[in-house]
Symmetry: C2
Subunit: 367 residues, 2 copies
């Protein structure tokens, strides 16, 4: 399984091959999500229809691919991990819906966000329904992987959900208070919680547990993917500024409009002249226009296009993009060294190749 | 345990005694919630501080009291059920935070709602964090009640979360489409999902499982509390219109401002003259003013005080309050007959008395 489209003699680092692996996983995981989401219209037709919206829009399926590849690279079967990987993807999509509400985002995967289409109340409830729907399949895991592994997977998912809420809160609190004192280090801690846990750590830990890995092996895997998760988020921040909208799928400059803390902007503010810094902080204290769900901002005043252009220029002139790329590369290199140290212990397979190839993909990706 | 303040010879139906029982449970459950919510400021100080806001505001603690009383009336120990009952209360408070966002409510337990105080983004994330935090204690339940019971409790909680999202969606969808075709029957189905599951069914099932009850006993308990849960929600709708704000703790007429479907208003619209019905539907198609999170309403137009006074008058003149009270009483009577049928099989205890006394409390309460 998972082999027909993936066998070939292209080198492992070929990004097309990585994308094909993810695309293959995506197909299987979307089918699995369709199994998990009830079809009974009487039970909540609209609720379940909207739960499928984001998952059906595409997306890289990075998280389930990572989960499946880890399990299979360690010798586990696809059947042991497919359901759990679908649950992680369901979680991811629930987070995306709530994140889009929290950030007041307009675009997700090149289409309007769920709250833009159906209003905040329905979007919040669809996210809650998706979170609710993750519990039963994780309990049914007992039949698939046995009691011990099923309980360990449940604990990882519980930790992941908690870490994500903590990271999200760090960021929301900075934005709300227009607090630009956080350093690169504080940013990295926020990213570890907000992105790394649910995008890299949880998928790898769940995949590892499904394959029967013990705690010391899981610790090694965690050491590999933690820096990779950080590099991934930094690259996301870079793409938000200099990416190509049609491939990236989100709004270019969205982070600037939202006043998000990125390594780029933290760097730019640190490097700025006192006058430019004052002006940047003034702009960052303003809301984005039409941002309906930020009643609590200190200032009633909204950002203009000129404000965002000022911030963009400040980042570009400060070398913020290069700074971010250097930090991302450093984390990716750390991940590569950790992978190289364990790579030899894993038998050769397309799954191992995928994990290794991911290091380059994360920092080279344009989507 | 749970006895010192509760032993006495006042009759079981004395509402003060019921309130004292709930108050006693509340104290213990709040202590338990404080144990569950991390205190580590570094991990997410503000997140965990805000999680305690709603639970600390008071509230009846009906759900944990029902859970504890069921377990103890069936001969179970407080220690077997306290943690689970605290998890149900945490869930309840997470739902309240998200409900308040979804309904655009201003007041909760006589204070401003969480999103009014801290903005929608933070309120949504605090709710998510609380949902995340319920998983670990339910897994730790294995040590308290054994594996089999812990897994059954997890399944009940998963079902509860799903039913609540389904019920909430039915209501949000009616509101969004300003659809007033739903009948009393559709309303009762919505309430069964939205209120009954998490306020009555889940607490009683979890309490029963913690005490070691088997499926047939649980089915009997479910038969008792299902009509009670429906009576509870109808009484809540009545209080929203004719209650005393200081005791009720929510905004009087809030349901009319929000255009919520209640038995009172469904009845009033059904009874209205064609002209009055047209006017009512026109008003119900309008948003509430300053309602920031309903971008999707058909009409941009907002309700005035006169509009709400019109609806209020329509309900009062149609006999909607009496109609609702009759239906609530009929459900409460059904619950009473079910309780009487099983009451004899339970040994006499303050816990059994609490369960029996609840039937009258639900329809007589003013808070």
């Amino acid at each position: 399984m998972l082999q027909p489209p993936l066998i070939g003699d292209t080198p492992a680092e070929d990004p097309d091959r990585l994308l094909a692996y993810m695309e293959d996983c995506r197909g299987r995981v979307v089918d699995e999500i369709r199994e998990i989401v009830p079809r009974d219209a009487r039970a909540g037709g609209l609720l379940y229809e909207l739960m499928l919206d984001y998952p059906m829009r595409g997306g890289k399926a990075l998280r389930p691919a990572l989960c499946i590849a880890t399990c299979r690279a360690l010798g586990g079967h696809l059947e042991s991990v497919l359901r759990s990987s679908a649950v992680l993807e369901l979680y991811h999509n629930a987070f995306l819906i709530h994140d889009d509400v929290e950030d007041g985002s307009d675009l997700r995967r090149n289409e309007r966000t769920l709250h833009q289409l159906h209003g905040v109340p329905i979007a919040v409830n669809v996210g809650d329904g998706m979170l609710a729907l993750t519990m039963e399949p994780l309990l049914e895991n007992i039949e698939l992987v046995g009691l011990g592994r099923a309980l360990r997977i449940l604990r990882v998912v519980a930790r992941m959900a908690r870490e994500s809420a903590e990271g999200q809160m760090m960021e929301l609190d900075w934005v709300r208070r227009a607090d630009w004192s956080p350093t690169d280090r504080a940013y990295l801690r926020m990213v570890y919680k907000k992105t790394c846990w649910y995008t890299f750590l949880a998928p790898v830990l769940v995949g590892g547990i499904a394959a029967g890995a013990r705690d010391p092996e899981l610790a090694v895997l965690a050491r590999c993917v933690t820096p990779l998760g950080i590099a991934f988020q930094i690259q996301d921040d870079v793409l938000n500024l200099v990416g190509e909208a049609s491939r990236y799928g989100k709004e270019i400059d969205g982070d600037l409009w939202e006043g998000k803390h990125t390594l780029l902007l933290i760097h730019a503010i640190r490097q700025a002249s006192p006058a430019a810094r004052r002006e940047a902080l003034r702009i960052l204290g303003r809301s984005r226009p039409c941002e309906v769900n930020r009643q609590d901002r200190k200032s009633a005043d909204v950002k203009s296009r000129e404000d965002v252009a000022f911030l963009r220029d400040l980042v570009l002139r400060s070398g913020g993009v290069d700074h971010a790329r250097v930090v991302a590369r450093r984390h990716a290199d750390r991940a590569r060294r950790s992978f190289e140290a364990i790579g030899g212990s894993l038998p050769g397979s397309v799954h191992r190749d995928f994990l290794e190839g991911l290091v380059d993909f994360v920092v080279a990706r344009d989507r």
